[in-house]
Amino acid sequence: MSGHDSKYFSTTKKGEIPELKEELNSQYKDKRKDAVKKVIAAMTVGKDVSSLFTDVVNCMQTENLELKKLVYLYLINYAKSQPDLAILAVNTFVKDSQDPNPLIRALAVRTMGCIRVDKITEYLCDPLQKCLKDDDPYVRKTAAICVAKLFDINAELVEDRGFLEALKDLISDNNPMVVANAVAALAEIQENSTSPIFEINSTTLTKLLTALNECTEWGQVFILDALSRYKAADPREAENIVERVTPRLQHANCAVVLSAVKMILQQMELITSTDVIRNLCKKMAPPLVTLLSAEPEIQYVALRNINLIVQKRPTILAHEIKVFFCKYNDPIYVKMEKLEIMIKLASDRNIDQVLLEFKEYATEVDVDFVRKAVRAIGRCAIKLERAAERCISVLLELIKIKVNYVVQEAIIVIKDIFRRYPNTYESIIATLCESLDTLDEPEAKASMIWIIGEYAERIDNADELLESFLESFPEEPAQVQLQLLTATVKLFLKKPTEGPQQMIQVVLNNATMETDNPDLRDRAYIYWRLLSTDPEAAKDVVLAEKPVITDDSNQLDPSLLDELLTNISTLSSVYHKPPEAFVTRLKTTAQKTEDEDFAEGSEAGYSSSNPVDSAASPPATTGNIPQPAGRQPAPTPAAPAPVPDLLGDLMGLDNAAIVPVDEPATPSGPPLPVVVPASTGQGLQISAQLSRRDGQVFYSMLFENNSQAVLDGFMIQFNKNTFGLAAAGPLQIPPLHPGTSARTMLPMVLFQNLSPGPPSSLLQVAVKNNQQPVWYFTDKIILHALFGEDGRMERGTFLETWRSLPDSNEVQREFPGITITSVESTIDLLTAFNMFFIAKRKNGNQDVIYLSAKVPRDVPFLIELTAMVGQPGLKCAVKTPTPEIAPLFFEAIELLFKA
């Protein structure tokens, strides 16, 4: 039986609509029918054929059922766009609803209910009333659903016209299909109404249980789903209900089986007899297992539900773990869910076999699955104390395979195992250390560092190992930096020798001065203070005993679990979320919760732009710093104060003041020059300038979002440049909502990507975000941002250097536009930018000032300024081993004095 309808899709291109119009009005039946088919074909491919409304509706009055159905279909699609014309169809609808043929009566009611036009809805009421009492069950079952449609369009009308009573009467209908549809309609209406409409009492219960045996499989699902809300009066009634429902477990339709399981589980809550419960558990196991022979999509739903069921009643499937072993050809989504259930069912009795399976999975090719398998081994180790050792040996075997991501995942779980069983398995640390240099994922790195710190006293070369990480400290992600900081402190407390002492200096310096991550900075200052005031207290805090962890991951809260169990087989049980979290009937107000649940990380904040998943940060974070209650260090300013202004920051913290988290050290001073104006940046304006602060070069940036969209995922890249300036870390900008702005000081490093060729102040920058194209702009490298704090010279050295350099190294330039107002203010200005005063002299009525500075890589810069105070004109001469940079210096001078 195959058709040739595809010909209707190929119509002439030109004058299509007029042509169809003509054909629709043809006097020949067949031609009209073909034309309607062409119209439907056009509608199917998404063409707008609503202009043919009247012509199509004219074809409605026909004896031909097929044609009638097509016209009805057209109406469903276009009535809303032509509400005034739709009224033309009403007469035919009403007439059809009285047709002798029940197929046509039902079709008319079914279609009218789908046309969401108020004017039509009014005319629907009378035919619907008749059809609800029709002699033919086919019409009644269609009318039952139609009441729900009407309720969706106009709930008041349904109540006023007494449709609810008529619908309730249908529960006692002698036809099971009608009963089932009435139940579905009532359940839906109840869900969207606050007043009690559909309450199941013991009489309706009996009726529905009887209908259950006779209606179609789909009807059985409606009835079982509605009945699962019923609360039995006592254990006896519960047992009776269960007895009537259990035969459904043998149904070939898996939806019937799952709904029956749901209902049995609900009633079991009331049943007190342990024998009955045990018996029911035994009865439910085989049908649940058989669900795993269904189509993979069904298996997926079943597995998500079984996950809930085993949390509530682990005994049901306690002996069936083998059926959850993954088959080679299972789709990945089935494998993932099976794994989760295997962990839940793993016990001392079956762990050996389970481990063999996990090990097998850990050598498959799908990376996510492999990782999950490795994690599963760890979770079993934490869950089953007696099996921990076997789990570890499997993990070690896996590490030996040396597949990079397996090793990393194994190290992460071993860290958890150490936390669960302290002082038990440390003998394997040596093996772990062998893989040290292969780690490149933050979580694995952080875990390994935690292990080294925690067991520093047993690892002979712990200091060397940690030191190897220190070199790259500024580039590490925050998660790793935090661990590195804590581990170094632990090492120092355990082995207060010279090496660790130096390391701790380096780390604390890095973590306090060279970072704009407030978490890291704050933690570093706390350690610093602790160490400098009371090392013993530091020991008590940092090396305190940690609470033992348990495997409660993926375990649901009992009340949520109970709610989800009442929703077995529904989406709620698939998502493991209560319905309110995702149901968005356009009428309800559930929209908000939904946003919160699904649009994770959209709230603006410092941490959200952080690339590290904060939820996955290693437990050491909380373990190392127990509640500081009673141990709060007195706020004495005893800490060595290399950076006084930042320490002030810390003081503020102690006084419980809140540090503005998202603006680490906002630079004050003149506004930044605009580099990308909003007009070229599609509403995004970027201002930026190099700056220097506390010995560190920063790129101060201001982002202003004047566009209509939220912008996020900001990243930055610098092209090769004369000084090899590059970002020291990721650009940390929170998602920018329209109309907001964000400032940041991006730490920079030098000599990362040097460009060859003559020196130039050109700095080419690219900034991107997730929503817009990449923005390129050029900025100037302002040399004075690079002058080092150590540029001061002794007078003698200055003279010596000046003399030792050949004259060819001296470069001069005149700035006729610059006027110096006083020598003192000039010196002050230049000192602020690390150009240090050496000497001054008078040459006639001109003042000559000598200054020294140092550009990176310790290149001295000797400066001679000659000017007449109050008169325009400044002469500037520099002498340096690298005179090529001099032009850049002149640019800087110009900038400084013009500002």
């Binding site: 058709g3 197929l103 449609k149 070939a252 080679y328 529904t570 009937r585």
Partner: protein, 428 residues
Amino acid sequence: MAGAASALFLLDIKGRVLVWRDYRGDVTAAQAERFFTKLIEKEGDSQSNDPVAYDNGVTYMFVQHSNVYLMIASRQNCNAASLLFFLHRVVDVFKHYFEELEEESLRDNFVVVYELLDEMMDFGYPQYTEARILSEFIKTDAYRMEVTQRPPMAVTNAVSWRSEGLQFKKNEVFLDVIESVNILVNSNGQIVRSDVVGALKMRTYLSGMPECKLGLNDRVLLEAQGRATKGKAIDLEDIKFHQCVRLARFENDRTISFIPPDGSFDLMTYRLSTQVKPLIWVEAQIERHSRSRVEMLVKARSQFKERSTATNVEIELPVPTDASNPNVRTSLGSASYAPEKDALVWKIKSFPGNKEYMLRAEFHLPSITAEEATPERKAPIRVKFEIPYFTVSGIQVRYLKIIEKSGYQALPWVRYITMAGEYELRLM
């Protein structure tokens, strides 16, 4: 609890809408298409995506059949199991109508597709999916008559799967008992899992409304009847029945009684998890001389009685992806290298019981390998076979009684066959 579908989409392999039926007016085709094309673009194949996905307030559930996706969208907490199962039923109905469900057949029959979607689901609630009865009142062009039809009684009857008044000259029933053996052997040679899934597949050509009663050598039934278990009685672990079987009656006295649909259907399926000796055992010794060649020595042994014979045996042996130049010898059957599956397929037309055969193979391996060891896909050895006139479980049809009020005699024909299901032996 209540919840229903908003719309049903039939999409092509790239996720574009071919035909769709809007049931509730709260999800648009454009929205669904945008979501779904993005989804399959991202993953490449639908196999890696969860079959239930959420996007912007709408849940999408989908299944794939040849080059067509069937997808349901919903905004409510609907019954996921029911709707996904419904989609599979829709596939069955379309296959019944168009023989093959694919993009072309949907296009060629879009009028009937719309009619069926209207009849099978109403306001997002599954209604009716009995293909044979549907085709009594929804017909394709070739069979369409101009007389107006009435809905067949069956649509709303308690017996919703069979129409009244069928007539056959010869009343016959064919009953096939098919058992699939699923087995998983781990790399240590231990049987990790083994079960048997059986199905009683029926084809009926019976007049009127026949009452059928099926008797099996079911231990529970025989013991309840107090019969001495002569011969073998079996324990059926989990039985699933076609909706025609009266479940309450079975629960009461283990009688399998039913009025069958016309034509072919699965009367029941069952599962046995008793461990069985693997019917065909395969051992492979694989020696890898890295960077030059790999040698395989494979032994296949049949572990059933000599009077039975396995037919169409196919043993799929995984070989490394970079292997080449196969050199194979077998003591029976033929072996061919299937590079697209990375496997050597050994076919034996007829494999008698209690015999052992060998295969030797040698492949070349490239002399250069990648520096970094990426894990090889570790496929298991997979075996296919059929053993006619034999069941693992020992299930027997003791009787099939057919009673119709016209009193005709019907002939039941019963066949038994065992075949390999998921039959996997992991390599050492």
